[in-house]
């Protein structure tokens, strides 16, 4: 699957697993695209760890919105941004709060799903997505809290780095969190981390199960419940 199409397919597939009422936090990069497939009728709320519930998809003029009621709050450069520091809109019923509250909601298990990109993930659900020793230092941001606290951790990633598998027996890079990941979404399928290892829930029929195993370091569990990804996830990407 071509890379850009793969990204959109993964995003759409994840959106399909978001249930009404879910509070969802999207990491930067690949995960951000999930919001493109979240429609209003899905009743899903977006969480920004910088202190917002109800992040909107598109940036509308938040300043104009408040001019009516609370003139005193209209300050030229007070914006709503998402966790990637990009200007964002808000949806109806949105709320603002401070970082301590925001991460309280995360650690307290009130965020139903966090979607994160990764460099490595392994069969114990360990995830490594914040640093490569000897390379440019970035910082973990909110990833460790999200991995530890969110009710469900979804990984959105290309199946391989292009050179080598990303789904490993054991992560080699410094971990972001241990035993954290619930499900891995790639262009090749949907993979649940279970106590016995990584189980293929469904796969993209463009690939054979053998091809998928070949692109994966961890031994995949393939049982009689495995299905192919429903065709509608490949449409209107």
């Amino acid at each position: 699957m071509e890379k850009e199409l793969a990204a959109r397919f993964i995003a759409k597939r994840i959106a399909g697993d978001l249930k009404p009422g879910y509070l969802v936090n999207l990491g930067v990069g690949l995960p951000t695209a999930v919001s493109d497939y979240v429609t209003e009728d899905m009743d899903v709320l977006m969480h920004g760890e910088n202190g917002v519930i109800g992040l909107g998809k598109t940036a509308f003029d938040i300043i104009k919105k408040t001019e009516g009621k609370d003139k005193k709050l209209v300050v030229q450069d007070d914006l709503v941004i998402n966790a990637g520091a990009t200007k964002a809109g808000i949806s109806k019923g949105a709320s603002f709060f401070d970082s301590a509250t925001s991460f309280g909601l995360i650690r307290g298990g009130h965020v139903d799903v966090t979607v994160l990109g990764t460099m490595e993930v392994d069969e114990e659900g360990n995830i490594a997505n914040y640093m490569i020793p000897g390379k440019r230092v970035n910082g973990m941001g909110g990833a460790m809290d999200l991995c530890t606290g969110a009710k469900r951790v979804f990984v959105a990633t290309y199946h391989t780095s292009g050179v080598s598998p990303k789904i490993l027996k054991k992560c080699r890079l410094p971990l972001t969190a241990k035993y954290a990941v619930d499900t891995i979404y790639t262009e090749m399928g949907v993979f649940d981390v279970t106590d016995l290892g990584i189980r293929v829930r469904e796969y993209n029929p463009e690939y054979t199960l053998d091809e998928i195993q070949a692109a994966t370091e961890a031994k995949l569990i393939i049982d009689e419940n495995v299905t192919t990804t429903p065709t509608h996830y490949f449409e209107n990407l």
Binding site: L79, N138, M140
Partner: protein, 218 residues
Amino acid sequence: MNKVVSIEKAIENIHDGATIMISGFGGNGAPHTVIDALVKKNVRDITLICNDSGTLDFGAGRLFTNHQVKKVICSIIGPNPESVKQHSAGTLEVELYPQGSLAEMIRSGGYGLGGVITKSGLGTLVEEGKQKITIKGEEYLVEEALKADFALIYASVADTVGNCTYYGSAHAHAPSMAAAAEFTILEVGNLVEVGELEPQEIHTQQVLVDAIVLRGGK
């Protein structure tokens, strides 16, 4: 007690080597006017506590560009190449924490708690050299409280005694920083009279604010 002062007066006691908390998230919601003045005053050897090191020309990031920071305690430095470069060169000390731990460490400093009992960072490099504690059979990491000499925060609206309300993404760590510092300077977008803010819409209480300056320095 009217706390509105000139920007020069507000920062007059900020000295070389001070520990300073600066609010904002990726520079958004940062006290830009106070940061301007800090750059102009050229205070050196700052230990900076902030969410992230901002960008080159926005937010607390400007202090790196001007080589004013000796050490930064934050959760992200990636988006500011200058902070990354100085760290690689060994001229900038960097202490990174999970953002949620950082938030509680600042709050703990302001609210008289010794530290934070969290699972964030367990089983990672973050736990190295730190105390752990077991509660009801579960293991947690202990992250120590943070305090500062000065907090520089921004709010959209405030009254002249320092009660204030944040808006949008400007909230972030500001209320905790206001509590965790010896001296808090509040930069405000719109200044109102005492009594104009309703008691239930005040996010940070006047007692945590020591000086108020107007955005733009008017």
